[in-house]
Symmetry: C2
Subunit: 336 residues, 2 copies
């Protein structure tokens, strides 16, 4: 299993990618990571982690990709102009069979554009998208799309449902994943024009469609897959991130008001750490790029080494479990 890893993608520099790669190959003996970036920089960076290399060196390859797409680059333009960017070179490796999948914490729009350009879409898919695992009070739920497609038609949402169902069935072992349609009320007929049309499409499909779900259901875990357009999915994701951060700040401010609470906060520290781990996107291994003829994972720009390691594992699992074959098969069963 060879995973190409964009060393230049994250906000926190190539060190995170290198540490994530080391952690991944240490954990899984059948794993090989191909680090993508300007070779001199990769060599310099990697020298700093020499102590972690015992026995792992032969399972990490450096691969020269001289250009870097930044977060400020416009996706379509970046893909046209930066032909030797890490993600472009990486998806070439996937296309040629030299890598099984690509992981990047870089510009998600550009990574998506690069994937479509280099690998193309799966048969029957009109819009590849990004799925994301949300933690809930029960089991994780897959939300799709979280930002790749901002203006959608019902067929696109149906395809997101097929892709996310296949993915959560194979990666999370969900049997016939329950699919919910994100709307502003549970009753049939609630929602905007897109949701109303999509409802009928999902209802007629062979998917395990359970109806509309509301924003609060994203965190309940009563469904396995939630579909929405990428604009709404992105808002849901970012609002959640923002609230989690704001809540921590508000709580800290309250705790600092009394000595009693300060002492309590020391005793409760372990529980807080466990709680934060449950909410931490890093634990969930990035967002699978679904609908491309190949495998790609996009990580949060702020990803740490654990997030990168987990994303590499998710990428490997997607390849092993042939998620793409399942998507094509399910799409073939029913024409929306």
């Amino acid at each position: 299993m060879r995973i190409a890893l964009d060393a230049m993608g994250g906000d926190r520099g190539p060190g995170m990618a290198i540490q994530g790669a080391l952690a991944a190959v240490q954990e899984k003996s059948d794993l090989h990571v191909i680090l993508l970036g300007p070779r001199p920089l990769l060599e310099e960076q990697i020298a700093g982690y020499s102590s972690g290399w015992h026995g792992l060196r032969d399972r990490i390859t450096l691969y020269h990709a001289p250009e870097v797409i930044t977060m400020d680059d416009l996706p379509v333009e970046a893909v046209r102009k930066k032909k030797e960017a890490t993600v472009m070179v990486g998806f070439d490796l996937v296309k040629n069979g030299e890598a099984d999948a690509l992981v990047s914490a870089g510009n998600s729009g550009a990574t998506m554009a690069a994937a479509i350009k280099k690998l193309g879409r799966l048969p029957g898919i009109s819009r590849p998208g990004l799925g994301s695992f949300f933690p809930t009070v029960k089991k994780p739920v897959m939300l799709m799309d979280i930002g790749a497609n901002v203006d959608c038609r019902p067929q696109h949402l149906y395809q997101f449902a097929v892709m996310a169902s296949s993915c959560s069935h194979l990666l999370l072992n969900y049997d016939r994943p329950r699919v919910g349609l994100l709307s502003i009320g549970e009753e049939t007929g609630k929602g905007n024009a897109l949701v109303k049309e999509t409802y009928d499409l999902l209802k007629r499909s062979p998917l395990n469609f359970v109806g509309n779900v509301e924003g609060r259901d994203v965190w309940k875990g009563d469904v396995d897959v939630i579909v929405c357009d990428g604009f709404v999915g992105n808002i849901a994701l970012k609002v959640s991130e923002g609230l989690a951060e704001a809540a921590m700040q508000m709580l800290k401010r309250e705790i600092m008001k009394t000595w009693r609470a300060k002492v309590g906060s020391l005793l409760i520290r372990g529980a807080f750490a466990g709680f934060k781990k449950q909410l931490d996107y890093a634990e969930y291994g990035g967002a699978p790029l679904l609908g491309i003829d190949g495998t790609g994972i996009i990580c949060h720009g702020a990803s740490n080494a654990i997030a990168i390691r987990n994303a590499i594992e998710v990428a490997a699992n997607m390849v092993r479990n042939r998620v793409n074959d399942a998507i094509v098969h399910t799409l073939g069963e029913y024409t929306a």
Copy 2:
């Protein structure tokens, strides 16, 4: 100042409305509350609160409205068929000048429909909407629309911006409120078709438009007003509610794992209460129904007495500060 209060609206029964009304008139000596509902039921219910009535009885009037619109009623149908429903009778009182505003914790769609039917729109407003105050780590932000209008055009979002700006300027004393447009990236050009068109409209307007904001900015407090269509706003609101609940459950589960954390949680209890109060929608006094030719506040169905009391105060403040005059004036300054 006479505020009509729908006693039949909330999920928690007329008792909450009565307690809220009592708390409101107790706090403000110039306030009069008109309780709406079937008279026999109101008389029976109010008997249970006789101990709180000293000196307040003459400032609470019971007003007979025999019909009740439930949460399951379809708004348009309910307004057509239930002509003597609490909110229908209440908005009649507002129209006739017998009440200055209406507060309801009932079916928000039906309350909106009743307001439009009885009072009509403000001159220049095509779509009345619901604004909501969100707590942030800094000052509250007003998000509009939170669910009244699911499919919008750019002009509607511009009008939401005008209404929410006027409202937050007069109620929260924000000087030239900073208006953000909810999107999936801060850069100009990010967003769906609706957002891109609205961006230009807001940029040309005399409002203090600061550009796109992301979902995480809802909780940051760096802008004063955030505009979006009602579908997206509702998702943002409900996802936040869902996460707040889920986070509490997750944290409790972690705390129950060790004795150390259990003891800590006792010491930290006061800080937790302060924190929950900051996040509590009840503290923010419901959602102003903006754009109607009159004043209405819609409360959360789960509102407690504090939420009702605060909503009554917000309604009174809206009337006192002539929010509607400001909206009409601002709209007149510029034609979008």
